[in-house]
């Protein structure tokens, strides 16, 4: 699997990396012994139910909770106005040029902005009783005109959702690379098309949920939460709840020496490690925010002082998490409301979102309009591209990451694996009365969809095949080293062209053409679609600074590896596994590095009291490259220390010593070795005890992934078979040729790819978060939001290239790509099958039949 002589081949001591070893997680998950947040039912826990707006846009004229408070079993009802007294608003997190981010509270007090907007929370002895009481909350609403589409939001007469925004356009910014006007003027042709992607939703099978436990003696909060980022949630709760007077907070900070010391040490460390990033933050973003709304300055000050005045931040924990796909990364308004409620009651409170809530505001994505112009020469050579992108972010911005940052990711990735002389993108973000737009697996994916769709349009106009035009323009090995027109450097890990060439070898085009003719004779249409992409996983060192200067500081990740006195190895990570199998793959990496058995290694995650700090959590295809890189780096140092320690016992030079299956010995004489446990016990007896976890061997290190290459790439090819009687689309073949470098666990990688493709198939053929023209949600259950089943998802062939990079840790991310490539390949195949232009990503049977000319658009 790995080439001999490559660093990874040398370090692969136990041979675990590259094997589909048994999943550590399965022992508990296949027997019902997993512990998800909903499974925790501490004695005396109270249950929360949110009262939500039935209207999409309205002013709250009054709210009467008296009857609900009197209802049996009800312990408290907290209104939006009361919640505003207890919490700070969500502040703007990333202030980008041309962006305005509105401030908002956990519950709404004056105005509602979507169906499902929470206006109060009821807390009772059971969820049943809380739901009864929620029905008794009497809210008077004065309806406002709704904004239900991008087109409406762009209209200057639309009712503004946010008073200070001056309309519903929240961001408008243009990024230009090269002399776009000149290149467009000089090119032989300019071809333009607009593509629209309707709203979709992440829909993990486990909804969001939180259990806030309150320690009766100390008031300390322990929050069990299905979060993709435990430390982020911890800080968000600490920052936004426990509102206190500024003078009180300051007094507490000044009088608490320990707190002061911890704060200044933390600040010094942060500034020290992020000096360059901090310098690069420009002022255009904050100035854009200030121009519209100065209030954030006051709130940020109060939040900062409030953090200083706190002696105790919550602990956030999670054991098992039932998927997320981005939706459990952002901090939810409900998370803040629940923590505030539990604090004020001094009692534990639990909220498990129901599926309708999840469909309303548990996270929505992808609603984007993309107008793409390509300047091209008659021989098919791409010259320049211009894009007009508009994202519908819904009512409330995602915190901390939402549409604005995603426009920046799309900006960098839009040119794809092709050569361009110039590129320009205008990015707008609009507000509408819909659910929160948040990252969804490959959040930038519609750049691939629109580009790969557009390339087929251009090929068609020039009389070329989709494969020809791609091969003609794609960056190949001969072009290296080079960089994308948007900045990031390209090295040999950007092997997209090789994946395309391999995919074309795997398809028998002549056979396809024969099948196509045969199918046409029986009322069916076959089509073949290709899509190619590369994604930063983690990307070259400058990648995040190309997205936005300063964001690169989020890249580094810390891990701790320890050897306990009994010889067991613990690896602490800030990652928050929610299906990716970290407990297995990280154990493979650590065991190989150390030379111990996989069973000797335990991965510790999901407990902010024990795991290293990091806001990134699990997401962004970081788990393989950065997370596993940190594991590898720390395990390597632990191995060095073990050998050094054993050298004395073995009376040998460290250079001659190896560790195999936990036995430390002079190479070739395992019979005269000592075990890791013996060395650890001896060190413990000698008083060795680490600062962090008290283990005799303990290494903490930050890994930044820089210099390790890091593009993850693929080509998807699919063949669709369309029944002109029913409009149903099936897949005789779906093929992915991917290259994420050396593979830790093949079954895990294939599973990630297939799961992503399945979501892409859902996006095109089945799933849509539908709203009517008054912004009423029309898909509030799984009867209307159609998640594909085993009958709709085909067998998906996955092939691997495993290109090596010169870096020290060569694992590359693979979690997002399946979803990035699939919508493009499928829509391209459908256009090919029907011979009709496809400009929307959502193609249910009626739309297919319309495109095929079988039925007339209604």
């Amino acid at each position: 699997m790995t080439a001999p002589g490559h660093p990874q081949a040398r370090e692969n001591r136990s041979g675990l990396v590259g094997q589909s070893v048994r999943r550590v997680e399965d022992d508990r998950l296949l027997t019902g012994a997993g512990v998800f947040v909903a499974d925790r039912n501490p004695d005396g826990v109270l249950h929360a139910v949110f009262v939500r707006s039935p209207l999409a846009h309205a002013r709250i004229t009054s709210i009467d909770v008296a009857a609900a408070r009197r209802a049996p079993g009800v312990v408290a009802v907290i209104t939006g106005a009361e919640m505003a007294e207890m919490t700070h608003p969500f502040p703007p997190f990333l202030m980008l040029p041309g962006l305005y981010t509105p401030l908002f509270h956990a519950l709404s007090a004056d105005k509602v902005r979507l169906v499902g907007d929470p206006v109060a929370v009821v807390i009772a002895e059971s969820r049943y009783l809380a739901e009864d009481a929620a029905d008794l909350v009497d809210v008077d609403y004065e309806p406002l005109p709704t904004v239900a589409s991008i087109a409406e939001a762009l209209s200057p007469t639309s009712e503004p959702l946010w008073a200070k925004a001056g309309g519903n356009v929240m961001m408008d910014h243009t990024d230009t690379f090269g002399d776009v006007d000149a290149v467009f003027a000089a090119a032989d042709r300019v071809i333009t098309e607009r593509f629209d992607c309707p709203r979709q939703s992440n829909q993990p099978m486990e909804t969001r949920g939180s259990l806030v436990e309150v320690d009766a003696a100390t008031g300390h909060l322990t929050i069990h939460n299905a979060t993709q980022s435990s430390h982020l949630l911890r800080w968000a709760v600490a920052a936004l709840t426990g509102k206190q007077r500024t003078t009180t907070a300051l007094k507490r900070f000044i009088t608490n020496k320990q707190r002061r010391r911890a704060f200044f040490a933390g600040a010094k460390q942060f500034v020290g490690t992020n000096r360059d990033g901090l310098k690069e933050q420009d002022n255009a973003g904050p100035l854009a925010q200030l121009k519209k709304d100065r209030s954030f300055l006051g709130h940020m000050n109060k939040i900062a002082v409030g953090l200083l005045g706190k002696d105790d931040y919550p602990t956030v924990k999670a054991q098992d998490i039932g998927g997320g796909f981005g939706s459990k990364g952002p901090v939810a308004r409900e998370d803040i409301a629940l923590a505030a409620a539990a604090t004020s009651l001094g009692r534990s409170v639990k909220w498990i979102e129901d599926r309708t809530e999840n469909l309303m505001d548990g996270g929505q994505a992808r609603e984007e309009s993309l107008t793409v112009s390509i300047a091209v020469d008659s021989d098919g050579t791409f010259r320049a591209m211009r894009v007009d992108l508009i994202i519908d972010q819904g009512a409330y911005p995602g915190f901390p990451i939402g549409a604005p940052l995603i426009t920046k990711m799309m900006k960098v990735m839009f040119p794809g694996a092709y050569r361009w002389d110039a590129f320009e993108i205008r990015s707008r973000v609009v507000a509408t009365n819909k659910g929160r737009y948040i990252p969804y697996r490959g959040p930038w994916a519609n750049e691939t969809w629109a580009r790969e769709r557009m390339i087929d349009v251009v090929a068609d106009a020039l009389g070329m095949t989709p494969a020809e035009i791609r091969l003609h323009n794609m960056i190949g090995a001969d072009d290296l080293p080079t960089s994308m027109v948007t900045g990031p450097s390209i090295d040999e890990t950007m092997s997209t062209k090789q994946t395309l060439e391999r995919a074309l070898e795997l398809i028998d085009m002549d056979q396809f053409e024969r099948d196509r003719v045969a199918a046409a004779a029986s009322g069916r249409r076959l089509g073949l679609g290709i899509a190619c992409y590369h994604e930063a996983a983690p990307g070259p060192p400058e990648f995040w600074d190309c997205i936005h200067p300063g964001t690169g500081m989020l890249t580094p990740e810390e891990a701790h590896t320890t050897v306990e006195a009994d010889g067991s190895v613990l690896v602490y990570t800030q990652q928050m596994p929610h299906g990716q199998s970290h407990e297995t793959t990280y154990a493979q990496v650590a065991a190989d590095e150390l030379g111990v058995r996989i069973d000797d290694v335990t991965i510790v995650s999901g407990d902010t009291d024990r795991t290293p700090f990091g806001f990134a959590g699990t997401g962004g295809s970081r788990g393989g490259p950065i997370g596993a890189g940190a594991v590898r780096t720390t395990a390597r140092e632990v191995r060095r220390q073990l050998i050094e320690s054993a050298a004395g016992m073995l009376e040998a030079s460290p250079d001659d010593i190896e560790i195999v299956d936990g036995n430390i010995h002079v190479a070739g004489v395992p019979a005269r070795g000592v075990t890791v446990a013996e060395v650890a016990r001896r060190a413990a007896d000698d008083g060795a005890s680490g600062d962090l976890h008290g283990a005799p061997f303990e290494v903490a290190d930050v890994y930044n992934g820089a210099g390790d290459g890091g593009w993850s790439v693929a080509t998807h090819v699919c063949i669709v078979d369309i029944d002109l009687g029913t409009g149903l689309v099936t897949f005789p073949r779906y093929l992915v040729v991917e290259d994420c470098g050396p593979i830790i666990h093949p079954a895990v990688v294939d599973g990630q790819v297939r799961g992503g493709v399945a979501q892409g198939i859902g996006a095109v053929l089945y799933e849509r978060t539908t709203y009517d023209e008054d912004a009423n949600l029309q898909a509030a259950t799984y009867m209307d939001y159609l998640v594909p089943t085993a009958m709709e998802i085909p067998e998906i062939e996955v092939h691997h290239l495993e290109t090596l990079s010169p870096g020290e840790n060569d694992f590359r991310g693979v979690g997002e790509g399946g979803m990035v490539g699939a919508p493009a390949a499928i829509t391209n195949a459908i256009e090919h099958a029907l011979g009709a232009r496809v400009t929307t990503q959502y193609l249910p049977p009626t739309k297919i039949l319309e495109l095929a000319g079988v039925i007339v658009p209604g």
Partner: protein
């Protein structure tokens, strides 16, 4: 506390019922609200949280349990409706000595699941399928499992797992290649 909960329910005018369940071969009598779902009773009153809730409206199948051997969605039933029934949940699949059921072993071998939130429902549906039809074809497996949603895997690995279980249960102890 359950007592507070039931007292509040009564003062809200709700009735309380005694339900005699047998869960995984053990008698599990409970005193619960008449309107309490079977899934909530299994999870919170009996304390078996292996049965999961993905939608609570009968579509996702995560809550599937066997009631007198037949698969059923425990989110759509009240516990009071199944008084006297024998219920099997995921916790009851392994032998008392801990030996895993062939379907559990097969899913392990196939790396069937990722987050595995859906796994309890799939395992119970697969057990019911194999009891009905010990040698299903691949497309029959897909059809029978179409009442269960999984968001992570794209289903292929789950179907592989059932196929391995079929081979194991039909005497091929290796389970064949996966």
């Amino acid at each position: 506390m359950t007592a507070d909960r039931l007292a509040a329910e009564e003062s809200a005018g709700g009735s309380i019922v005694d339900v005699a369940l047998t869960v995984n071969g053990r008698s599990a009598p409970v005193r619960v609200e008449a309107r309490r779902t079977l899934s909530d009773v299994l999870r919170e009153d009996v304390g078996l949280t292996g049965t999961h809730l993905g939608c609570e409206h009968g579509v996702c199948g995560a809550c599937t349990v066997l009631i007198d051997g037949q698969p059923a969605r425990s989110c759509l039933l009240l516990a009071a409706q199944v008084d006297g029934a024998e219920i099997t949940t995921i916790e009851g699949l392994a032998e008392p000595d801990g030996t895993l059921h062939p379907i559990q072993q097969a899913m392990m071998q196939a790396h069937g699941f990722q987050c595995a939130f859906c796994a309890p429902g799939f395992l119970m549906s697969a057990v019911a399928l194999l009891a009905d039809n010990p040698q299903p074809t691949r497309s029959e497996i897909r059809e029978e499992l179409a009442g269960n949603l999984c968001r992570c895997t794209g289903y292929q690995s789950i179907v592989d797992g059932v196929e391995i279980a079929v081979r194991r249960m039909n005497g091929d102890s290796s389970g064949g290649s996966s």
